[in-house]
């Protein structure tokens, strides 16, 4: 792990030449205006790059007035950054040559690699190898390039149509074509960027490298990402948690992860596995990392302009000032929908409003300054609510009536923004008539939205992020457990090539990790069954134990509530006969188990993802687990706070919390079980899947009991 971290750190240091090269070779520069090799060179020049540019084209003397070189070698001095736009088959040699010429970094724009299959896969492997040998960061291939708007560098090494304006937002994209749309959208909305990166195929440089670089990038306050996959889920969480929660000031990260469509549930032998889609895993990763997952480009930028330009609200108490009743109600609806609280205005505020506004106005929240309001009324109302200690954020709504002095009202808001540290979002509804006002707002970094719902949703996201940065900081617990016992059980299973542990083995594993397992013993004879039942104490449950039987319940392999010796004897005989005959499987014996008291049934589980490691599940149990899919996931290891969040996040949590005078359940015990499950999953990579189903939970202080469990081992 430490050596991995070191490599990552190394890479972070190395990214500098990508963003701040003193010289660039444009290898594959072209004279044809429709060619990518022309567009990029032209962008470098017109973007005002502050270093030296060396176009490389064997057939040209100069392009765009810049002298050309016949080859990389022919360049008279060492180069910092190689921009490679040559045909795919020529890329490996070009990259190697660039390295020999002293290149500290490379961007491969060329396509025709992994994405075309066949030969492309081979070529991509080659450039990966060369990049590693050269020890330089290589961005791409198959990307649009990158942009650094820092005026000291001013590099537009991309074939975008335009250089974006400078700003404090960084954007990373795994889709090149999306970049073109984003840049055009940002142009229309006057949104600026610090860094703009098309990741391409992520052969060498990937999102983690970029995130670690951006963490220390003073020009970047907000990070946006479009991703189709992650190179490493756990490392992503660890890297990102620092950016979103530990450094000062923290940098919010907004991400689109596309491919939400549920893949057909893959064959999985556990409940946990069958309930876990890839999208749930990404949700878990983003949640644990403090990343705000967004559903669309629109939502991403709506949020981004809020985070980039306004302070975070202290909490979610919002005041609305509007000149239109209807939109005021719509905004109120949206605020409630997105988890905000309508601020209760202080009496002094209401008094100020009553003094300043006409009698027909509304003096409570939402404050309606009425349709014929001009800027004076807006100013009075905004000053009043901004000074109200009960208000954390303000949404200003305007509709363009004939008498509305839109630009003056915009100026009033700009002036207020300079005087207050409260979050201000605006919504001038319309397009044409409101545009001069919107321009004033946007140029002065006041977030503007066309509709009140977008403003409310953004403020809601800002509050959620504020809560994330102020969450309780807990640690990963390390319970004293009997690791040796578990290792022995697992070793035996692997030795015997048995993937599915029997119920007594599964219970033994959990017992070794000090889960509250119901007392049990494996009886191999009728006599033992009677003896163990007596020892455990009546009533008992009996469960057939056989590695050939996975649906013991359906086969009549489970008997509950046996009260007497005679009942146990009869059951033992019947089960062996009946189940043995029905299944033909070898019977190891019958598990004698104490009967559980009634309580709420929950399910705890783990499935090891080949990519992301152990993923924990928690949900409501019983028949409802599959109907409602009321489950939640987290990557292990989890901290105490994470365990709490898991339990509290299911829809049926109110059942566990205790409704209508019922006692609350033992939430602490569930959390502890989740933390033990986390430790077990991390300590024993041989375990592929775990179902603890059900864990029966009792009232607060009374604990819980594992009634059944299932463990699948990797015997390969």
């Amino acid at each position: 792990m430490d050596s991995q971290t070191a490599i990552l750190e190394q890479k972070v240091k190395n990214l500098r030449p990508l963003f701040e090269p003193r010289s660039i070779a444009v290898i594959g520069a072209s004279r044809r205006p429709e060619a990518v090799g022309y567009a990029i060179l032209n962008n470098l020049i017109s973007g005002g790059f502050k270093g030296k540019i060396f176009p490389v084209n064997p057939k040209a003397d100069e392009i765009c007035g810049v002298p050309c070189f016949a080859s990389v070698k022919a360049i008279p001095e060492a180069i910092d950054l190689a921009l490679i736009i040559v045909p795919n088959t020529a890329v490996p040699a070009t990259l190697k040559e660039s390295g020999e010429k002293g290149a500290q970094a490379a961007v491969i724009i060329s396509a025709g690699f992994r994405e075309i299959g066949g030969e492309g896969i081979q070529l991509e492997a080659e450039i990966k190898k060369i990049a590693q040998d050269l020890h330089i960061p290589v961005l791409g291939p198959n990307c649009l390039g990158l942009i650094n708007t820092d005026p000291a560098v001013a590099i537009n090494a991309s074939f975008s149509r335009t250089m974006p304006r400078a700003g404090n937002i960084a954007f990373l994209s795994q889709s090149g074509a999306l970049c073109a749309a984003i840049l055009d959208y940002a142009k229309g909305k006057h949104i600026g960027f610090s860094k703009f990166v098309s990741l391409g195929n992520k052969t060498d440089v990937h999102e983690l490298d970029m995130l670690r670089y951006l963490k220390n990038d003073a020009a970047t306050n907000v990070i946006l990402m479009y991703l189709e996959d992650l190179v490493n889920g756990r490392a992503f969480i660890d890297t990102v948690r620092e950016i979103t929660g530990e450094i000062s000031p923290t940098k919010p990260i907004l991400a689109i992860k596309s491919g939400r469509t549920p893949q057909g549930a893959k064959a999985a032998s556990s409940h946990t596995g069958s309930l876990m889609g890839s999208d749930e895993v990404y949700d878990a990763i983003f949640l644990q990392a403090g990343v705000l997952r967004v559903d669309s480009v629109e939502e991403m930028f709506n949020f981004a302009i809020g985070f980039a330009n306004q302070p975070l609200p202290r909490s979610g108490r919002v005041a609305i000032v509007t000149n239109a009743g209807g939109p005021g109600i719509m905004a109120t609806d949206a605020c409630v929908r997105y988890g905000l609280e309508m601020a209760t205005l202080a009496p002094a505020t209401i008094q100020k409003l009553k003094t300043a506004l006409p009698v027909t106005a509304s003096f409570s929240n939402p404050v309606d300054v009425i349709g014929d309001a001009r800027h004076e009324r807006y100013e009075a109302a905004l000053q009043a609510v901004a000074h109200d200690p009960n208000v954390d954020g303000i949404i200003v709504i305007l509709t363009p009536q004939a008498m509305t002095d839109i630009e003056d009202i915009a100026k009033v808001i700009v002036s207020l923004d300079k005087q207050t540290d409260k979050t201000i979002l605006t919504c001038f509804m319309g397009i044409v008539d409101v545009s001069p006002g919107v321009k004033i707002l946007e140029e002065n970094h006041i977030p503007h939205y066309s509709f009140p719902e977008d403003a409310a949703r953004t403020l809601g996201a800002m509050v959620r992020y504020q809560q994330w940065t102020h969450r309780p900081r807990t640690a990963v617990k390390n319970f004293k457990v009997h690791t040796k016992t578990v290792n022995e059980i697992l070793a035996k299973a692997i030795q015997n090539q048995i993937s599915f542990l029997t119920v007594d083995q599964s219970m033994a594993v959990l017992e070794a990790y000090e889960f509250p397992v119901l007392p049990y013993q494996l009886a191999r004879s009728e006599a033992e069954a009677v003896q163990f039942s007596k020892k455990i104490g009546y009533p008992v449950a009996m469960k057939i134990v056989s590695r050939g039987i996975s649906h013991k319940f359906d086969l009549g392999g489970v008997r509950l509530g046996l009260e007497t010796e005679a009942q146990v004897q009869t059951a033992y005989r019947q089960m062996l006969q009946q189940v043995g005959r029905a299944s033909g499987a070898k019977i190891d014996g019958v598990l004698i188990q104490a009967m559980a008291q009634k309580g709420w049934e929950v399910i705890l589980g783990m499935k090891r993802d080949p990519h992301f490691g152990p993923i924990l599940m928690f949900g409501i149990g019983g028949i409802y687990v599959e109907t409602l899919r009321d489950v939640t996931f987290r990557l292990a290891p989890i901290r105490t706070h994470g365990a709490r969040r898991m339990v509290e996040s299911i829809r049926t949590f109110s059942l566990l919390k205790g409704m209508r005078g019922q006692k609350p359940s033992d939430i602490q015990k569930i959390m502890e079980c989740l933390e033990r499950l986390s430790q077990l999953s991390c300590a024993h990579p041989e375990i592929l899947e775990i179902d603890i189903n059900p864990l029966i939970v009792y009232p607060e202080g009374a604990g819980a009991a594992v009634a059944d469990a299932r463990i699948v081992v990797d015997t390969a």
Copy 2:
């Protein structure tokens, strides 16, 4: 009912002079450019009104070049429409005068009525009375006015900033200030309107009048509404169902109902009541009426341009054509999220694509023509998918790369649209560079969206509406029932001023309506308890019956599964003692009831809304009803199809449908019970609330059983 319908019809006929007056008196016309009375006169003139205009202002000779009159009386001829902009206190007299001058309709722009309380309420009542006496439709007061873009009339009787372009969309708004925003938004998006109406306080003319008018308005194909309340829920459903489902062609209606914020659950004595918020009722009304409820102005217009400009898709099979992979995936995600199905392209289509596109393209859906595509590639791909019989709708996505010929691609789409009857929606992502292409699309009535999610959501809404228009047409059933029995029970309760029927009375009511009530008898002595238990058959349940006890279960007033005479005797004595002592209430006796077989528990209920009449509820029963709020509502009466939709719409329907090899439950019997409940609720307006909780449902064909019920009667 018939006389009401007649009045409505009468009103519909009368609305014509509002929209098509030959002459207008502008009473309160002003010379001051910032005044409403100036803006409206100016709008009438500059809008090109085809009739005569008579400004009324005692202090002016002419305004805007039009001769003024000192009073309404002074106008030399009869007037068609009176536009009233005088101070609130002068409105009643002005309205009366206008009527005397022959006005066939009036619009009261003036504010200062119900919305200011006090004197305003009084004034509003006055004008309502005058309107009724005059038998003319009066729009407002407190409104922005109305617009009819029909070139034969061209009336802009509003104080909007501009006259919208003509189009096939009608807009009704209960918020005046919102109108200004909508008009400005529509101007920016090149959206046209047929009629544009600010409803104001709805004193006389309300949404139902307008809807009945628009139903027959040839210029209107789509109706949009912003509402804060409805004058009549049931009449709304009946009126609107015709518009959205019965006339040909049907007219889709999109509505924003603001005030979604849940009101604090009002004190309600039934489960049904406590689960029913006003918003759920509006959801039910819109659902039953075939109205598409939208959450925001943005969504409303996104949908509207789809409905107004494109044919409905035959079903939900969508093809995506894109030049960008990332947005293609995002669009796919969104399509799945909004209930669409990604079309499986026919082999012939794929062959065509392979011939026309480069090898790096994607030939399956989403079809990726690759970032460097020009219009020829788009044309080939679009022609191929448009001719595919597996495709019902097409979403075309474009991102602006350097080489993308945006305008030519727009023209290709326009040309395709003329050749096909499939639904085409477009998404040119960006703002500035794409705008010339977007303009071509918008001018040619091709719906355009800035983001693929909006296009997918719109297509999803169009599919839902298409399904609505093709829904099975069923009737309201009329069961033969024992109305007399019910009337007697209710009469007795009212006579004795007892609101809560006892459980035996409630059961008797349901029995009279032939619900499958479990056998029961009310025992008034221990001997009777034993006798009835024997008759009903062991095991039995026993429930205390007392009108003073509402939580009989908590007090120990319920015993289940009693198997013997001795158990019944003991239980009877204990219950009387224990419950009697604990509650101090008078005990009527003990209900002896057959024990129900196990099955799924569901809840059926009814609550009578003072405004909307009986509202039916259906949901999953047991502890989950309150935790999950997995319930659905409909206004009574319901049809058979409506009953089916209710049952199928709950989240836990899969439990009833039968999961994992389990037998399906008797859905038919639940539907029948809902239809009986509907009849019961409509036939007996004295019943305020009904809970049938639980109805225990058995496998298909095995029926269901009412195990407990509660009825609340209006004794006032």
